[in-house]
Symmetry: C2
Subunit: 315 residues, 2 copies
């Protein structure tokens, strides 16, 4: 079995191949061609930590993947990162373990950002006036990096909760070639940008419906567990297209679950990203529509990004 560390993976992952593999994965998932057993979740109350084990096998693939992700929120006080993780890739024909990817959670971050890139490519309005980023952490950076490939817009408005974080983000985005405006008021993002990415762990709505311009596309990434929310449910209800990575999962705890439970939207309105990619559902019709993509993260992404990483490493 091969063992690869985070630096090896970051330096060698073929991002264009990863996009292709993720798209194939979303399509397979929406076609019911992926085995995704129930997530295993642990709670370590005294250590203020949690762990989840997500596994997936895409029918016809040579490999399958078991991912272990941890979050231990007192780690920074010990000089450690809060999040860690690894993926184990096994042969789907012999069961042998093929590779241990000690990515420390990076592959989860990049597969999430690449899903955002796919969503923006499919649904952004034809002219992006500014990119809005709600959040200024690691995911906010990786999403902006990935949007570089799918829009020519080089203007970004970023919201964060403190000035130091925003200054650091500004330096990062300036280096990437963006003209950067920072703000502590989320309304500024909504008023300026028509391609908005929400990447916070918020538990209450940050964006109000009345702030959003016609024609805006929003990708909401933060609501990956019960209780999380970034958008006003009225904004979700206002969207002309609601795309989700997994109807089941998003209905349980995704961004759109709040509007669904409040009866503001119906499950029949939800379209899976895989169905959109497969051409079974319509995307944006015109530049006045509001489109929304809700990403909760599905294990098929882990299976696809890890097999891609392994293929990249061999190449």
């Amino acid at each position: 079995m091969k063992v690869f560390n985070k630096q090896q993976i970051i330096s060698q992952l073929d991002l264009n191949l990863a996009v292709k593999r993720l798209e194939e994965g979303f399509v397979a998932f929406s076609n019911g061609e992926v085995q995704v057993p129930p997530v295993q979740a642990f709670s370590f109350v005294e250590a203020n930590g949690d762990c989840c084990v997500k596994s997936a096998y895409v029918k016809g693939s040579d490999t399958f993947t078991v991912k272990i992700s941890t979050g231990f929120y007192d780690n920074p006080g010990k000089g450690l990162e809060s999040n860690d993780g690894l993926m184990m890739v096994l042969s789907a024909t012999t069961g042998q373990p093929l590779a241990l990817l000690q990515d420390e959670g990076w592959l989860t971050c990049i597969r999430t950002a690449l899903a955002g890139r796919i969503a923006a490519r499919l649904l952004a309005p034809s002219e992006v006036t500014a990119i809005g980023i709600v959040g200024a952490g690691m995911q906010a950076r990786m999403h902006l990096e990935q949007l570089h490939a799918v829009t020519d817009c080089r203007k970004v408005v970023v919201w964060g909760r403190n000035d130091a974080e925003l200054e650091a983000y500004k330096a990062f985005a300036t280096d990437l070639g963006y003209e950067v405006q920072t703000t502590r008021n989320p309304e500024d993002v909504a008023r300026s940008a028509n391609l908005i990415i929400c990447v916070t762990p918020s538990r209450e709505p940050l964006l109000k419906s009345e702030w959003i311009q016609p024609g805006t596309h929003i990708t909401a990434v933060g609501a990956d567990a019960a209780g999380k929310q970034e958008l006003d449910p009225a904004l979700v209800a206002r969207a002309d297209r609601i795309i989700v990575d997994s109807i089941y999962q998003c209905s349980q705890y995704g961004e759109i679950s709040h509007a669904l439970k409040a009866g503001l939207i119906r499950e029949e309105q939800l379209v899976e990203l895989g169905a959109l990619l497969a051409g079974r559902a319509k995307g944006r019709d015109n530049d006045d529509q509001i489109t929304l993509v809700d990403l909760t993260g599905v294990a098929v992404q882990d299976a696809q990004i890890s097999s891609c990483a392994l293929a990249s490493m061999k190449g």
Copy 2:
């Protein structure tokens, strides 16, 4: 993270410490002090394979464990073992991966054999006239090795399905110091032995109730999935004590599930091994009673054997 291979693990595992840790694990499990998320199961139909992911955390432990086990039944034709597996041990205080135990399934075998050893120590009659082994594979060997520590009896009667396998087993057991009788008739085992271990993947009863002598202890290990069965349900019903590793799991698909579903026994008769070890339930009262232990294998054993292996390696 440390990586250990099968040979390192076999040569260094402290078996007496492992027994202690397993006993503590069974007690914790029966006290409800173990987090055991649902098993993740994959089926690879075209490759004639399967995989399961079992994970457990014992409250208060420094570590938790994720185990991946595979069975690919066409592997022998490719010069590979059918079964493979590994365990990942992570810190329960920081989430960091501590060790990858590439045991190729050996730790699962030994924790199963050690559970059989614990069962025999607790429930064997005071004088063992002969050890009976129903089955002649790897588990049949490992159980006999482990029984060495808990009974002075050095006479074994072994049943198997073919002569070559039985001859190989005879050579193995003779080397261990046993006087060995082989047979193709399971009745011979039952008539001769009063400490019987059933370790086959049988899907129909092998031992009939009327063959079994009063005072016999039986440990049934084979029924680890739906459809498997080694004992006549009437024999299960005849047992004076029925001990199980997990009431829930054994009721679902263990050896005793058949008698339970047929109404021959009641769930109230079932006692968990952990409750017996903790002194909350009675074992054998006298040398006329028939006792039965049904082992389906629980993830707490994996958590305990892997942390023990890691501790052994450090020592």
